[in-house]
Amino acid sequence: MTSTPLTVRICHLYPRLFSVAGDRGNLFTLMQRCAWRGIRTSVTEADTGVVPDFAESDLILIHGGQDREMTEAARDLTEKAGPLIDAIEEGAAVLAVCAGYQLLGRYYAPAAGPPLAGLGVLDVVSEGGQVRSIGHVAVECDLGTGGKHVLTGFENHSGRTYLGSSAEPLGRVIAGGGNNGEDGTEGARYKEVYATYLHGPVLPKNPWLADLLIARALERRYHDMGPLATLPDREEAQAQAAARRLARA
């Protein structure tokens, strides 16, 4: 351990544009779980027209929004693409939710209007559908971190996402719709990018994923990190159990 306090540098992309379903709870969760362990956090907010220093960002958040906001984010993302892709390739931890997830894929083709190009770091394509998937979801994830985890949350999306041959899902749907309601997959991952349709926010009820993101962010900055201190996650466990009951998983 170093003697100077550890800091997780968080970059919150489009906090104003993508702020539709309590997703700032993800940021609160990361900050509190760091604070409870004596780890500092710094947060850089980057809306449209600003290209943050992604090289100094260890954990990047990009959340969901409505189609209109997504169009604008897609346009703006072309300005941020280069350094953002570099950071991802160099191991920055990323949580991408809903529209944020779709924008990290190859493209999103809305039901009406021209397709939006994505960053293409995830080998997935998304299209606007006629039917919204709305409801509680439970997903089984095996991220190779020793043991399986269950991810629970709420989905509310009309977009359908299909994984390409080189894409890995975030997990397998136990209950709910997931990526497209057809193939049983939910979300996608690449390097330290974790993308999901679960909004609302996803991290409070799934502290294992929050801690995974924090650990990866610290590793990127400080390299030889031991495991994170465990926290008494009683309320989190109860909320996850309740969410699993709601999802009937």
Partner: protein
């Protein structure tokens, strides 16, 4: 088809239209059945019998609402929007009644189609005639498109569009599209009363035939420059640029303009021009109307109630209610208003006071929190949410509420409802100590525990979704602390 057309033509010519005999028989049967159901469900305590009679009567005669509305000479007003419907209706009803009009309305927040039909069942005689001179309906923003085709409204009031239950309503813009279609369906003789301070509401259906009347706030020295976090529409509806605000009064409501395309808030027809807070009651305000300036002492605190008052005065202006411009008349009418049930309703619970608040979306919750935080002392809080058809399934919006501002003032905290775990997690991440939180899934046990944690003479603040709010109120009603809501 021709019969219907000519009947409607007769109706629109002014006088009430006669109902042809076969239709009359069916209507009478439906009304009789609905009235019987209303009586028996009230006797059996099915929640005050507010929506079941409508459902039953409508099954017998699907055309009931249209027939009763067409046969009546009453002025028909619909109030819709995300927040403020109930209080706006209460204010408007008070103004109308003080002007001598008999008002029929759905008062208990029964604002889905069945609840609206129930008003017709209750108010009409078996011949389908109402003696009310105003039919005032609070209608759910997703239901209003079902109601307007059956009811030729003289005025449609749209209070605001906030994010509310996206799992039920879909995206904000979908909701706005639905409301725009409703406005477009109104005839030129109708008036649509719009909150000009809400960029999305102000821009609805600009080409529609109906007359537009805009209300809003133009009060120097009030408001901030930056929208709060939970604000929804903070971007230009025309060109998507960030709006710039000369003043933000509540969430995304304010005096806005677009620096890119130059669009701006419409000119106000009814404007609140001064807001002076008072320590105990609501603020003193001045409202400018086309017929003069109206000073009002509001009985209800909070900026949201300033908007509600402006909406009510604007609707009264649109309807040319008797003397809405007379200050004393309006002042007296408003002064008697108490909060609608569950809107920071003060309830004496033995030697403690309960302040019962219904919080259903980030804006309403934040507005309530601001009023709670204005009160002195530590806050004893009972927070509850349940997943129901009315309250929805998705409570992600709780993370957009500024619970962080409440936590430093918390003196005790009890959590309840079928989604108690979600609420507990929200308070935990807002910084509440887990040793302080007590979770009681049962509403009665939670209320008892929360009252026990509140010292005599102090207030317990209940912050709850619609269903648990009704449940808490029901418990307090059985204990004789509060009258039944349907008698309000």
């Amino acid at each position: 088809m021709r019969l219907v057309a000519s009947r409607r033509a007769a109706g629109s010519a002014g006088g009430p239209a006669p109902i042809p005999p076969p239709a009359r028989a069916r209507l009478a049967l439906a009304l009789a059945a609905g009235k019987a159901a209303s009586t028996s469900s009230r006797v059996l305590r099915f929640g005050g019998g507010t929506s079941f009679p409508g459902r039953l009567a409508r099954r017998i005669d699907p055309g009931l609402l249209r027939k009763v509305a067409d046969a009546s000479g009453a002025r028909k007003v619909i109030v819709t929007g995300s927040n403020g419907k109930t209080t706006t209706c209460r204010m408007l009803a008070t103004l109308a009644q003080a002007g001598g009009l008999k008002v029929a309305q759905n008062r208990s927040g029964s604002n889905l189609l069945q609840g609206v039909v129930s008003v017709a069942v209750r108010e009409a005689n078996l011949r389908g005639r109402m003696d009310a001179q105003m039919l005032l309906l609070e209608v759910d923003e997703a239901t209003v498109r079902l109601v307007t085709p059956e009811l030729a409204a003289d005025a449609l009031v749209i209070t605001n569009i906030f994010r509310d239950q996206l799992d039920r309503f879909g995206e904000l813009y979908t909701m706005a599209g639905g409301l725009a279609a409703v406005i477009e369906s109104l005839p030129a003789s109708a008036t649509v009363v719009l909150n000009a301070d809400d960029p999305l509401v102000a821009s609805l259906a600009p080409e529609a035939a109906a007359r537009r009347l805009y209300y809003g706030i133009r009060a120097a020295g009030t408001g901030t420059q930056v929208p709060e976090h939970a604000a929804d529409t903070i971007r230009c509806v025309h060109c998507q640029s960030d709006l710039s605000y000369r003043a933000v009064y509540l969430s995304h409501l304010g005096d806005y303009s677009c620096p890119e395309c130059g669009s701006a808030r419409p000119r106000l027809d009814v404007a609140v021009t001064a807001i002076q807070p008072t320590p105990d009651a609501g603020p003193e305000i001045k409202i400018e109307t086309p017929t003069g300036i109206l000073p009002l002492q509001l009985p209800l605190a909070g900026m949201h109630n300033v908007y509600n008052a402006a909406a009510a005065i604007a609707a009264a202006t649109a309807l040319k209610l008797p003397r809405p411009q007379d200050p004393q008349h309006a002042e007296r009418a408003m002064a008697g208003l108490r909060p609608a049930f569950g809107r920071m309703e003060q309830i004496q619970a033995g030697d403690r006071q309960v302040v019962l608040s219904f919080v259903k979306n980030p804006t309403a919750y934040n507005a309530t929190l601001r009023e709670v935080l204005r009160r002195p002392g530590g806050k004893h809080v009972l927070a509850a949410h349940s997943n129901t058809d009315i309250d929805g399934e998705d409570f992600s919006w709780l993370w957009d509420v500024d619970i962080e501002q409440l936590v430093p003032q918390l003196a005790s905290l009890v959590i309840s409802g079928t989604r108690a775990e979600e609420v507990a997690l929200r308070f935990k991440y807002a910084g509440a100590h887990t040793e302080m939180m007590r979770v009681h899934p049962s509403r009665a046990a939670a209320l008892d525990a929360a009252l026990e944690g509140t010292p005599p003479g102090e207030s317990l603040y209940i912050l709850a979704g619609y269903t648990p709010m009704r449940e808490f109120r029901g418990i307090m009603q059985r204990r004789g602390w509060v009258p039944p809501s349907w008698r309000e």
